[in-house]
């Protein structure tokens, strides 16, 4: 199976060199082939699920709890300004 690594990398926001592109194309293809083996399993009598914990309806009541202080929230940021995270202009 051929994978468009460039496209996948773009969607994942990952900058890849040309060598890496080649390398990952191979690796990802073989991973997919490996996982494809699952197709040979007979799943006729199984319900489709996206959760294997068996849990359902895990919710919380609408109650507020204490938030971080502004300084705490910003403490891991590379750069901040006026209490906000600061990044290069995106528009």
């Amino acid at each position: 199976m051929k994978i468009n690594v460039k496209h996948v990398a773009k969607l994942a926001n990952l900058p890849l060199s040309q060598e890496e592109e080649k390398k990952f194309e191979k690796q990802l293809s073989s991973i997919l082939e490996y996982v494809e083996q699952l197709n040979s399993v007979d799943t006729k009598n199984f319900e489709i699920t996206s959760q294997i914990t068996g849990l359902e309806n895990i919710t919380r009541e609408d109650k507020t709890s204490i938030s971080l202080f502004q300084e705490e929230a910003l403490s891991n940021s590379k750069s901040n300004h006026n209490g906000m995270f600061k990044i290069k202009k995106i528009l």
Partner: protein, 449 residues
């Protein structure tokens, strides 16, 4: 050419806490980044747990819009990179939303089909600034993770009037349900029309009953994040004109996302539309699915109050008022409730529901600052004037004219102000309270005889 318009509307819920964490959802005007925690900052290892009230409100809105509520539903991750989205994905719903296939009936009688109503989370707020001549973007995550309901329609609109009617109805329903302030100016409600044009050429060269092709156009232009009804109106009008010009030149408008620029009074390109699969949706592994049963759904349904259209029809019938009056009185639930309290109180004072509605509507009563008891008192005062017989007033007027010959002479000699003196006399003589304008009219008739 005929416009084909569909709508996506985001409504922010007014829950106390956010969608997946306990941070306060009341972010408007608060100090930046003071309503955040590891969950809504998207820090590694944080576990989102959905807000039960938000989910129930989403379902309630779906029910109010006549949707089916599937017994099974789940959350999904919608992956994209943008600085206002801390996690690199938004928790949303993809193929199994809470509500499917509803409808809203417009004033024109037309029915707009609702495709789905689903639950998701809001993003942070970006502020673009210039600091020391350098362009920067600042991020405030207070809004990140606030519960957001998205309501998607089928492309059933073909004119702006219906779009506005739909939006007002949706806003009104959200407010009746008391799940959102739906305040446009605060960004509680954001609108995204998608617009394209369909040529309405039918094949007239042969005589077969050729139907107008109901196929949708092969492109659509989405206008993002409009926060005013007026802008949505202008954006749609602009797009119809822009696309018409392209098609008339034998072109096809580009499928893309545009934004409304109020300064330039036009829509501008934002980005060329990505395909849905580019979001790489997949089931949210951190949140177990939601399963309803009939009992739980019934409990939500029971919380739905009488909705605007039903209330309007009931008011017309029960209180014998016009459709127009019923419309005004049911525009907001608080006014409708106020009116009904007044009608009840008024009954004890022998006032009809019609008298009450006339008074409230004509006097443009501010219900925030007026008590129902005051309304009744005021209407009563008005009706006492009216109950005094015209002949009663005439009798008093005759008497006053006889007793004040000087003033009458003055008036007839051109001193018009003498009438004021006579009015004062009439009011003094009368035992009942009289309406000045009525007294004046009768006096003048007699004087000019």
């Amino acid at each position: 050419m005929k416009p084909v318009i569909g709508l996506e509307v985001h409504v922010e819920l007014k829950t106390k806490s956010k969608m997946f964490c306990g941070c306060s959802a009341d972010y408007f005007g608060k100090k930046p980044n003071t309503h955040t925690c590891p969950v809504c900052l998207g820090l590694p290892g944080a576990l989102p747990v959905p807000n039960k009230t938000a989910i129930e409100w989403c379902v309630m809105l779906g029910m109010a819009l006549d949707c089916n509520i599937p017994l099974f539903s789940k959350f999904d991750r919608k992956n994209y990179f943008y600085p206002d989205l801390a996690k690199g994905y938004q928790i949303s719903q993809y193929d199994e939303p809470f509500c499917l296939k509803g409808s809203i009936k417009l004033g024109s009688g037309k029915t707009i089909r609702i495709t789905r109503v689903h639950m998701e989370e809001d993003t942070g707020k970006l502020i673009h600034e210039n600091v020391n001549g350098q362009g920067i973007t600042l991020i405030d995550f207070n809004r990140s993770g606030v519960p957001l309901v998205e309501i998607v329609t089928e492309p059933d609109f073909d004119n702006t009037k219906d779009v506005l009617d739909y939006l007002k109805k949706l806003q009104q329903i959200a407010r009746y349900l008391d799940i959102s302030n739906a305040d446009m100016e605060k960004g509680d409600m954001r609108l995204e029309p998608n617009i394209s044009l369909r040529s309405n050429t039918t094949n007239t060269t042969n005589n077969t009953n050729q139907q107008i092709t109901n196929k949708l156009p092969n492109y659509k232009v989405e206008v993002k994040n409009i926060n005013s009804f007026r802008f949505v109106e202008k954006a749609i009008a602009f797009e119809i004109k822009r696309q018409t010009e392209i098609i008339e030149k034998k072109g096809i408008p580009v499928q893309e996302t545009r934004g409304w620029d109020e300064n330039k009074q036009k829509t501008v390109t934002q980005r060329v539309k990505e395909e849905a699969s580019d979001y790489r949706y997949f089931p949210e592994p951190d949140i177990p699915p939601i399963r309803w049963n009939d009992k739980k759904l019934l409990m939500i349904k029971k919380q739905i109050p009488e909705l605007p259209d039903t209330k309007k029809r009931r008011f017309q019938k029960q209180y014998n008022i016009s459709q127009y009056d019923a419309e005004i009185l049911t525009r907001e639930k608080t006014l409708a409730d106020f009116y009904e309290t007044c009608v009840n109180d008024g009954q004890k004072a022998n006032l009809t529901a019609k008298q009450v509605s006339n008074y409230i509507i004509n006097k443009k009563i501010d219900i925030e600052s007026t008590l129902p008891a005051e309304i009744i008192k005021n209407i009563k005062a008005l009706t006492i004037y009216l109950r005094i017989d015209e002949s009663e007033i005439k009798k008093i007027v005759e008497r006053v004219l006889n007793e004040n010959k000087n003033a009458v002479g003055d008036y007839r000699n051109g001193k018009v102000s003498a009438v004021q003196y006579l009015i004062g006399k009439v009011l003094m003589v009368s035992k009942e309270k009289l309406e000045v304008s009525r007294v004046k009219k009768i006096l003048e008739e007699k004087l000019n005889d």
